[in-house]
Structure formats: C-alpha cells, structure tokens
C-alpha cells in the first residue's frame, strides 16, 4: 500500500532510496538548513521551513530518502529526551523481520 512509511535506521537507507520512510533518532547537529541525526549511525537531514528540531532530543521524521542517502524531511515529531532509542531500534528490526504485519510485500 502506498500509504505506508517503513520504519528504518541508517543501515537501511540504501534499500529505500526515493521512498518515504520514518526514522527515529537523536539530533546530534543542527546547521540551519540541515541537521544530523543518530539512528544506529548518522543520517543527514535536509530540513524544510516548518521543521523545528532540538539538539539532543529524540525525534521522529517522515521524509524521502535522496540519492545521496540524506533524507528530505516532510514532517517531524519531537519525542523528547526520555525516549528509549534501543527499543525503537528493536522496533525497526521487528518491522523488517516480520513485515507481513507492517509493510506491503513490495520491499
């Protein structure tokens, strides 16, 4: 289904080029129009004007993976500082291992 947005972390980026994905990670650098997120490895985010990220906060972004493996952010949700990124990583792992209940057969 086209409406799904697979949950990924940095090591999956290559397999999801030009697709819309969800990534949860910790914001490690903010540089105006771009930012760096740590999601089991670092990912470069290209921000839009409405994106408000906070340094060292966990954050979920929905965005499109570009050819250079950066992510162009469509929307973002601040998950605060109390978010367990290890659990989020387990979720990414589970969603790719048991994709029958998460994402279409297309991947």
């Amino acid at each position: 289904m086209s409406e799904s947005t697979p949950r990924i972390s940095s090591q999956y980026l290559e397999n999801f080029q030009h697709q819309t994905v969800r990534v949860v990670g910790k914001i490690t650098q903010l540089r105006g129009e771009s930012a760096t997120m740590d999601a089991n490895g670092s990912i470069t985010l290209q921000l839009n004007r409405d994106t408000h990220l906070q340094l060292n906060h966990a954050c979920e972004v929905i965005g499109k993976v570009q050819g250079d493996l950066s992510i162009r952010v469509l929307t973002s949700t601040d998950f605060g500082t109390e978010f367990d990124l290890t659990a989020a990583d387990a979720v990414v792992d589970a969603t790719h291992r048991y994709k029958e209940i998460f994402y279409g057969d297309g991947h």
Binding site: T75, T77, Y98, F102
Partner: protein, 276 residues
C-alpha cells in the same frame, strides 16, 4: 522488555466475565450491547488484541467477526498519528496513520458528556485507540470506545513490539525454549483457537519457531505406533484431520529443520531419533 516472558499466558480466549461474581466489573461492553441470548457466547470472546493498522485493513470478515491470523478478534487496540479530524454532530472521525497504513476511527459523541472533559487531540498527535473493527461498503473503519493522546512516546515502540509478539504467538505458537521450560505456555496454548492437541509439546525438544501444524505432526509421529518406515502423509492427515496443504507445509518445516526424514518415498515420514 523482560516482561515479554508474560506472553506465554493465554492470549486466545480470555473470559472477563467468568471469574465468579466479577461480571459487573471491568469493561463489559460486549455484554451490554448484545441481546441477552447472544450475550453469553460473545462475552467469552471478548479479547483485546494489539494490532497494526495494516492488520486491521487486511482482517478477514467471517460472519459477525473479523479474523486476524485466523483467529477471531473482537476488540483491537493500536497507536497512530492523527492525519485529519472531522467533527460531526454525532461523531468525530479521525484518520490515523501508524506507518503501516491508514484507517478511519469513528468515536460517537455522548451528548450528556461535557465537551470540555474530552481530551484535546490535535492533528499529527499520536493517540492510542481501543475499538472494534467495522465494515461498511467494503471499507473498514474502527468504532472507538476511546481515543486518548499519547504522552510517553515509548508507548509507540512498546505497542509495535507487543503487536509483533502477539502476531507471532498466533502464527508460530507460544515462546518455547529447547530445554522445555514451557509448562505454563503449553497449557495455556491448548485452550487457544489453534488446536487443543498441542499442549505440553515444549518438552519434546523441538526447535523454537515451528508452526502449530508442524508441532501437531511431530507429536503425531512421536506418539503413533509405526514400523521403522514411519507414517504415510495420508495416514497423518487422517489422524489429525488436517488439510493436505497444511500438512505439506508443516512437514516441510520439520524436514527442513531435520527433526523428521523421508523413508521409502517422499510421502512417508519418520522421526529422526538422535537421543537413542
């Protein structure tokens, strides 16, 4: 995460009303909405299952129920992000997205309830929903008992992992370990929808992750008297009253893992006995 051991408990047919005089307590929505004659059987199936939106959209209608992973679901719970809200006089409809798909959630408005007491739910907020799957014009939606905003985002991870664990419980059976430390799990499992003949198999030393059918076949081979040629699949199918397609699939799992082998032909199986 350590609480996952708890999944060896019975997920299949929880009977909220069955504990003595507890009938009036808890959430008894099933009982109060049904006619007195139908209420009893319905109540026994009043389970609450954590699911993904994809599972809701792919659930199969069967009679008055919906099936997910071939077992009835009555109530479901899931977590999603609000994509749009439309407030009508009698209900509020939210479009929810959890990354696996989208679904409409309808919550009826209680006219007696003070509007200000309703939790405020903004677009793009994450919410937790409890409700029942409904179908109208071939389109599924969820009739919600409640919708509440999520304040601890760990609930999203927790929910998705729980939905996975329950899905695996229904498709692959309860958690088992090679040393057979599974007394409670086997017992609870035998009450489930997936077949009563499989209780206590954990002690057989089967590798984890086998389907319920594979376990049944193994159990049949183990307990049925046979020559050293083993049993023919037709014989097993007859003993277990199992469809031949299911039998072939379960048999393949056992052959792949090497716990059984083929003897005189491909359709005759025997247990590979490594212990003796």
């Amino acid at each position: 995460m350590t609480s996952y051991g708890g999944y060896t408990n019975d997920y299949s047919n929880t009977s909220y009303g069955a504990q003595g005089g507890a009938g009036g307590g808890g959430f008894m929505t099933g009982g109060s909405q049904n006619s007195p004659s139908g209420g009893d059987s319905q109540e026994r199936n009043d389970t609450l299952r954590p699911v993904t939106i994809k599972q809701v959209n792919e659930s199969q209608e069967s009679g008055q129920f919906f099936n997910i992973d071939n077992s009835h679901v009555s109530q479901v719970t899931f977590v999603g992000q609000v994509r749009s809200t439309s407030i009508q006089t009698t209900n509020i409809t939210y479009k929810l997205d959890d990354g696996t798909g989208t679904v409409e959630v309808k919550q009826w408005i209680d006219p007696d309830q003070d509007e200000s007491s309703r939790p405020r739910i903004d677009d793009n907020a994450y919410v937790r929903v409890w409700g029942k799957i409904k179908q109208f014009n071939n389109k599924k939606h969820v009739g919600a008992h409640f919708v509440r905003p999520i304040t601890d985002f760990n609930e999203i991870s927790y929910h998705l992992l729980e939905a996975t664990a329950v899905h695996l419980y229904f498709t692959k059976g309860p958690l088992t370990s090679k040393d057979g430390a599974n007394g409670a799990g086997g017992g609870a499992y035998s009450n489930g929808n997936m077949g009563g003949a499989t209780g206590g198999l954990g002690a057989d030393g089967l590798p984890p992750g086998l389907s319920a059918n594979a376990r049944k076949i193994y159990h049949c081979l183990r307990t049925t008297q046979q020559s050293n040629e083993g049993l023919h699949t037709a014989d097993i199918a007859h003993r277990l009253q199992m469809e031949s397609a299911d039998l072939a699939k379960g048999g393949d799992e056992l052959l792949e893992t090497g716990v059984i082998y083929t003897t005189v032909d491909d359709q005759t199986w025997a247990i590979l006995n490594t212990s003796s």
